[in-house]
Subunit: 296 residues, 3 copies
C-alpha cells in the first residue's frame, strides 16, 4: 500500500472495519514463521514503534534494521538495499523515506512493501488510523465537516486525509498561514480562517508545525501562530458539543494547541495513537493475506 489514491472506497471501508474489530478485541496470529523489517530512513519513533507492535501482535518476527548504519550510507541504492533484505528472507517491509514516491524504484521487489510515509507525499497508515478514529466516533463519514489546520502544502497527513475524506463524502475545510497553501493543496477542500470554521466542524485536525521541512525561516513566531491558527481555550469553547480534536503528534504544546487541551474531553490525540496499532494490524494483515499467508 503506497498511496490513498490507489485505494478504492470499498477497500478503505474494509480496512477501517478490520481495524475497528482489532480495537474491539479481535486477535489474529500468522501461521508459520514470517519475518518483517521496518526500514525507516527518516526518524519516526511513533510510526515505527506502532508498526513494530502491530507486527508483533500479528505474530510476525521483527528483524531490526538501523538505517543510520546501513549501506545506504555507503552509496547503495534503495532498490539494492530492499532487494538485499528480500534476499535475506524477510517476507514484508515497511519503508519510510524522505524521497517522494520512493516506491516507484521498487517495482521489481516481490515481497509486500508498506508505505510508512514518503517525502511530503503520502502517509496511508496515518490516514487509515485517522479515518478509523473518525468512524469510531460518528459511525459515518458522509456529511461530516472536517477542518484541517496547518501546513497543508508540506503535510503528507493532510493531503492523504483530505483526499480520502472528500471521496468518502465528508466536507473538508483548510486553514493555516497562506504561504503554506497553493492551488494543489486546495484540490480537496475550501480555505477558511480558523475562527470561521471553528463553530461548524465535527472534527478539527491540527497539523504539526514541521520546522524541519521548511527551507526558509518561518515569517511568524510560535506564539503568533498559536494566536492566529492554534486551538486556544476560547476557540475550544466555540466548538460544537460533539466535535473532536485530532493531531498526528508529536505535539508542539502551546503552538498548535493550548497545553491544557491536549488531554481535554474532546481530544482524541492519544486515542489516535492507540488506533494506529490496530489500523496497521489491518493493513499488514491485508497485505499478507494477499500473498497467501494465513492467520488464525
Amino acid at each position: 500500500m503506497f498511496t490513498i489514491t490507489e485505494l478504492s472506497t470499498e477497500r478503505i471501508n474494509r480496512i477501517v472495519t478490520e481495524a475497528l474489530a482489532f480495537a474491539n478485541g479481535k486477535t489474529a496470529k500468522i501461521e508459520g514463521e514470517v519475518f518483517c523489517s521496518n526500514l525507516f530512513f527518516e526518524d519516526s519513533t511513533r510510526t515505527k514503534t506502532s508498526f513494530d507492535i502491530a507486527e508483533r501482535k500479528l505474530g510476525l518476527q521483527v528483524v531490526p534494521f538501523d538505517a543510520s548504519n546501513s549501506s545506504v550510507n555507503k552509496g547503495e541504492s534503495l532498490y539494492d538495499t530492499v532487494k538485499t533484505i528480500e534476499s535475506l528472507g524477510v517476507n514484508l517491509v515497511v519503508i519510510r523515506d524522505k524521497k517522494d514516491r520512493y516506491f516507484d524504484e521498487l517495482k521489481n521487489i516481490k515481497i509486500p512493501v508498506i508505505n510508512g510515509g514518503d517525502g511530503t507525499g503520502n502517509h496511508p497508515s496515518q490516514c487509515m488510523l485517522d479515518l478509523m478514529t473518525i468512524y469510531q466516533e460518528f459511525g459515518k463519514f458522509e456529511g461530516l465537516k472536517v477542518g484541517i489546520v496547518g501546513d497543508v502544502k508540506h503535510s503528507r497527513v493532510a493531503n492523504s486525509n483530505a483526499e480520502a475524506l472528500r471521496r468518502l463524502g465528508a466536507k473538508v475545510y483548510f486553514s493555516g498561514p497562506e504561504q503554506w497553501f497553493d492551488e494543489g493543496a486546495l484540490i480537496n477542500g475550501t480555505y477558511l480562517s480558523v475562527d470561521e470554521m471553528i463553530h461548524d466542524v465535527d472534527v478539527l485536525m491540527l497539523l504539526r508545525i514541521q520546522h524541519e521541512r521548511h527551507d526558509s525561516k518561518m515569517s511568524f513566531s510560535a506564539s503568533e501562530y498559536h494566536r492566529k491558527y492554534g486551538l486556544t481555550k476560547e476557540r475550544e469553547k466555540a466548538m460544537k458539543k460533539e466535535a473532536i480534536i485530532m493531531h498526528p503528534a508529536p505535539i508542539n504544546r502551546g503552538v498548535e494547541i493550548d497545553t491544557d487541551l491536549v488531554e481535554c474531553e474532546r481530544s482524541r490525540i492519544f486515542r489516535q495513537m492507540q488506533n494506529g496499532v490496530f489500523a496497521r494490524m489491518a493493513i499488514l494483515k491485508e497485505a499478507l493475506e494477499n500473498q497467501g499467508y494465513a492467520f488464525k
Copy 2:
C-alpha cells in the same frame, strides 16, 4: 520503583530474596502477551541489556526504542513520549534520563515505570543487585562494614547504596577526593582515607570515575587517583580474609583498581553483572504483579 528512600526495609528484603531465588534457578514466565520498552535517554549498554535480558527471561516482548531518533529530539516532552508509548499498548517501561527525578513529571502515566537511573540521584536496580551480591556472600547486612570509594557526590550508585545499607544495619565509610564530598554526601556514613578503612571493611565498593559528569577538569591525573584512592595490589593484600571487592562497571582499569585485581578471587565485579539480571527480574515481576499480571 523510583528511589530507594520509598522502599521499606521489608520490601527490600522481599526483592532480594526473590532475586536470589532467580539466581538459584527459579524461573517465571508471564501469562499472556505483555509488552515492555526500555527508554534510555542516556547511554548505558550494561543496564539496558541487563533489563532487556531480564524482561525476555520473564517472557515479556521487548519493543525497541531508540532514544537518539526519538521525538524528544523534536522537542517533545518526556511526558508526551511516555504517554505515547503507553497509548501504543506498551505495558511497562524502564526509563533512564539525565534529569534528576524525571519521574516527577510522569504522575499521570498509568503503566509501571521502573527507574533505570535518574541524573545524579537514584539507581535503585543497581542498588538491589549490590545488596543481593552482599547478602549472597554474608547472609546478612547487620553489622557489616562497607567502604565506598570515589565520587560519592555525583554517584547515584553510592547514594542509593549508602542509604539502603545504613537502614539495613551496615556501617558505611566513604573515601575519595575531598572536593567530591559535601555534607549531603556524608549523611549515611563517615569519611576515612582508603588506608584507614582497608583493614576493616567487609565490602569495598569502588565507584567509577565519571569524567563525563564533571564540569571542570579534575585536579589530579589517573595515576595519581590510583595511588591515593585506587585499589592497588598492596591495599588488596591488607584486606580482611573474607572481604570482597565490588564495582558497578564499566571499570577504568589501572585507575579505580589494578588491572590484575579485576578478576581476582575476592572480586565480585562480574558476579554483580550476573546478579543484575536476577535483581531486575525480581523488580519487574513485583511491578507487574502489583498491576494484576500473573506468572507461571
Copy 3:
C-alpha cells in the same frame, strides 16, 4: 570460528553440506532458552541482519547491542565488554571489529565467539557462503578456475576465499590495480589482467572498492576502474557458457560491474545473500552443538 586457516578441509565440507541442507528446506530449532548477541563495532547491515535472521531461524533469542552507545566509547576494553555480555547470560556472540585479530584478546571468554569480520583479516562466514554458492553450482571445487578482481590486499573476503579455494583444489587468479597487490596477497593465486582471465574462469568474484579502507586517495576514477577492471557488457559476453558472477555487496553499480549485469542470468549476487543466512545457520549450529546444546 575465527579464521579459515584454522578450519580443516573436512570441517569446511561439513559446514557447506549443512548449509546446503538448510537451503533445501531443512530446519533446526534449539532446545531451551538460548540468548545470543551481535556485537558489530563496524557497520554492516548486511552481515549483521544475515546473522540476526539465521539466529532467529535457529530459535535463538537475539539480544540487541548498539555498539555506538556502548561502554567501548567510555574507554572500556573489548574484553571487558564481551565479558560483561557473557556475565549477563548471553550464550553466544558474533563480533565484527575494525581491529585485525581482535579475538586474540578474548581467550578467557567461555561462550562461543563467531567472527563476523576482523579488520582486513578474516571473514569466515562470508567465505562459507561463497564456497556454498560455488558448490551449489558446480557440485565440486576441484579443478575450478576462480578469478578474484579488486583490492585483494585489503579485502578479508578475498584472502579467506582464495586460501580456502586453493586448499579445496581450485585454481585462483587475481586481478585489480597493481598497487593493491603485494607478495602476501599473491600467496594463493596468480596475477592476470581481467581480459586474460575472463575467457577462462568458472567463477568471477568481483570485490567491492572500499573507499573507506584506503588512507590515501585512489589514483584512478570510478569510470577508469570500470574500464580497466570492471565487468563490462563486453567482458560478460566473453565469459564461458556456465560461468557465474559473484560479488559480496554492497555493489558500486557501474564501477565493479555494469548496472545491467547485477541481476543478469549468470549473476549469483542475490543468491549469495540468500545463502548467507543458511551458511550462518550452519556455523552457529556447529558452534552451539560443540557446547552441548541440542537442536530438534
